[in-house]
Point group: C2
Chain length 210, copies 2
DNA sequence: CCTACCGATCGGTAGG
DNA sequence: CCTACCGATCGGTAGG
């Protein structure tokens, strides 16, 4: 091994277009989602960016760092939604807070779809993935607690266990990442309305609603 | 390709424990789900079975064949559910057929959870995966058509586009594979009831139901 | 000659 | 940012 100067500052006005770290991350996340993390090689990423493989390592320290940054992005956004529901909405009923969490979660899913998609596919194959799973578990526990509170208030049906309700509700919300496309037929607000309506009122036509 | 005698009967009383093709497949699917297909090596599978890697090739022709068999299993089961809804239930309303499809889908998901989980994670990275995606798309189209019919009957709400309803409904159903465990707290019928109740009637408590 | 394997290694490619 | 490579490991197969 030869010693090597660490990270020269990015030159302007010379050399190639100048991809920055964010552009590499965006392209990486797009590929990770399209082909899967393991099936994506750093060579694939280089080709996508019009660089050589070694050139990527000028911008990022490695493949797993790219994954970690994407997972942190998704987790930070979702954590903000959940934290807010408990902190800033303390005066409202659990039912109202749950509706708000569902709506805001949908908005995060569509606004940060690529990184959230990666998060939902994490299997725990590395330290980075295990750390993400731990944060995700914390979120799931908070959401389940909110559902339990809403059932206890009498706002939600009590003929199904609250943990099961929570899993199915957020299973539906999370399924958005499988098909939602920002340039598709449905805009953000429309999807949020549809999810909230179907989740809380069901998809059957009712004669009377409360 | 060379012609080949199909499946010799398993010998008893001599040689090693005698893993058969089905046992290798079961172990492979379990590993594919736990670690991901690409992250699972044939060496991992060999270790799990207590064999050497070359020994696996006595039972199966390769890694991708294992994936293909699992995907076919899931697709065959789901295709049967959908086909039956159109063929054997022609006299019933679309709404009734849709409810039945949801219930039967839940049952297939929990009975064939490992292979269905693999199916839902396919990205199209190979011929085997592309073929599976094509069959899956056929299923999704049939299900969407059934939802459209149920809306046209007036049985389902018409304030949300039918394609969106279909995606959210089966997104919830499919999310089962993320957490359902056969040895867990919920049995098959309980989960099927919960999904159907929440999907069609919603999770809010209503004063009146139709 | 069969089966059920083993120790060793093939040609290629991964991340770095 | 490239050419030239590394240690390791991949899926799959050789002879015995």
């Amino acid at each position: 091994m030869t010693s090597q100067p660490a990270e020269p500052p990015p030159r302007r006005g010379r050399g190639r277009p100048g991809h920055d770290q964010a552009a590499v991350l965006r392209a990486a996340v797009e590929l990770f989602n399209r082909k899967g993390y393991d099936a994506t090689s750093m060579g694939d990423l280089a080709k996508e960016l019009g660089l050589t493989k070694p050139a990527i390592y000028h911008h990022v320290t490695g493949k797993e760092q790219l994954l970690g940054q994407a997972l942190d992005d998704a987790l930070d956004e979702l954590t903000a939604v959940v934290t807010e529901a408990f902190r800033e909405q303390a005066g409202r009923s659990a039912y109202e807070r749950l509706r708000e969490v569902v709506r805001r979660s949908v908005e995060v899913l569509v606004a940060h779809q690529p990184s959230v998609t990666l998060l939902l596919r994490v299997r725990g194959n590395s330290e980075v993935e295990l750390a993400a799973l731990e944060r995700r578990r914390w979120l799931d526990d908070r959401l389940a607690a909110l559902v339990t509170d809403a059932v206890a208030e009498g706002a939600l049906r009590d003929d199904v266990p609250a943990t099961l309700v929570s899993r199915l509700l957020f299973g539906m919300v999370n399924s958005l990442v499988e098909w939602y496309r920002p340039d598709g037929a449905y805009d953000r607000a429309m999807v949020a309305d549809a999810v909230t309506a179907i989740a809380f009122d069901g998809l059957a036509r009712h004669e009377t609603r409360v």
